[in-house]
Amino acid sequence: MSDGASAFDLLFSGDPALLAIVGLSLAVSLAATVLAAVVALPLGAALALVRFPGRGALIVILNALMGLPPVVVGLAAYLLLSRSGPLGFLGILFTPEAMVTAQAVLVLPIIAALTRQTIEDFWVEYRDELTALRVSPARRVATLIWDARFSLFTAVLAGFGRAAAEVGTVMIVGGNIEGFTRVMTTAIALETSKGDLALAIGLGVVLLALIVAVNAIAGGVRRLGEIHAG
């Protein structure tokens, strides 16, 4: 009971440690999502529109990768980025840069698979018209992406939600270093294990609020899309 009360004290007093943790969480997950989207959107669109041998298998694999366990991604990144590993020369293990990169890897299949599905659905609908209008391939891609922009934004939001909520990747690759790589999820895990539940609950509330907000935005975007789609 007292833990809950002190949690709210922390939340509303603007405790600097808590703010720093929330700020870092948002920065890492946003950066990871943007990074992933930059690669995943064109990849998904290409996969939707270009026929090549093995395309079917690649789509199945991409869909399966949506379920990549975060701890596995964290472990793989750790082995790669450790000084004793192949990418050790980068020296980014236990830094926010590594967290962003690893989360981007986690989130990329989600955005790419959802993009592929969306663009493919739109293509099925638009194919006859765009063909009859003699639209160039480049313009076709641009038209599909623009017309599907609300659905694609929802896909990116889905990726962000995944990144913000996961703990396995950022824990292993970031090391949960206080003031440097500690984010909401890893802080909650740590504080709970210490029995210091006030901060854990406070952060849990913030994280929940964030996820609710993300879903609300996704709903709003969907509705906006419906207005345009008619």
Binding site: E125, Y126, D128, E129, T131, A132, L133, R134, T143, D147, G225, I227, H228, A229, G230
Partner: protein
């Protein structure tokens, strides 16, 4: 600079389209000439839509030849097609029309869009999301979009099949106006009245083949084939 070459006449020589072993079109020999509208009539499954796709160079024949103004290939820029159920882009009505205006200078586009919307009677709905227009309005918008490309030949696949009489009349009026500007209009329909109202000449299709072709009055007065006669009588021709 676009070459002044024409895509007319569109000539089919023993053209067939076979899909998965089924002959959708069988050895069509036909010529679509410049001038008054040509109406293609026939029951469902006759192959009218496939004929249009072939003529509009959207598909290739599996055997036989199609030529456009004597050329074996065409880039299709002068051929426009409006499908039976047109698909609107998720944008405003005006934006849909503007989508086809690639050949027009940017500064001239708004005026041209306005002109086209007025032609099809949708000037008031320019800002409305295109997908929120009624069926008849979308059909007219699709017409405007196709005309935005300033085509030489306009194919309309059963444009009024699902429209009420008022909307049908609106579309027919536009078609007449368009034909009057010199665009070759090719229309398919199952509506004999529409055929009579619009056509310069009629092509009767059945089971993937052409079973009669004649100028309109002659077609109705003296049907060129027994099947055509049966169709005009109102029989179900299988």
């Amino acid at each position: 600079m676009r070459a002044p070459a024409s895509d007319l006449p569109i000539v089919f020589e023993q053209a067939s389209v076979v899909v998965r072993g089924v002959a959708i079109l069988e050895r069509i020999s036909l010529s679509l000439d410049p001038g008054a509208p040509t109406v293609v009539i026939g029951p469902n499954g006759a192959g009218k839509t496939t004929l249009f796709r072939l003529a509009a160079a959207l598909i290739m024949p599996t055997s036989g030849r199609v030529s456009w103004g004597g050329k074996a290939v065409t880039d299709g820029r002068r051929l426009a097609m409006v499908f039976q159920r047109p698909v609107m882009l998720r944008r405003s009505a005006a934006a849909n029309v503007a989508y086809g205006l690639t050949e027009v200078a940017r500064s001239a586009r708004p005026a041209r869009v306005q002109q086209l919307l007025e032609l099809v009677g949708l000037a008031d709905l320019a800002r409305r999301p295109a997908r929120r227009l009624s069926g008849g309005e979308q059909q007219r918008l699709a017409l405007a979009r196709a005309l935005a490309r300033a085509p030489e030949v306009l194919f309309l696949d059963e444009p009024t099949a699902s429209l009420d009489p008022a909307a049908t009349k609106a579309v027919e009026d536009i078609v007449r106006a368009v034909a009057a500007t010199g665009v070759k209009v090719v229309i398919s329909t199952q509506n004999l009245g529409q055929a009579r109202r619009l056509a310069g000449d009629l092509v009767f299709m059945l089971r993937g083949g052409v079973h009669g072709r004649a100028p309109t009055e002659q077609f109705f007065a003296a049907p060129p084939t027994p099947e055509a006669a049966a169709f005009l009588r109102g029989d179900i021709v299988i």
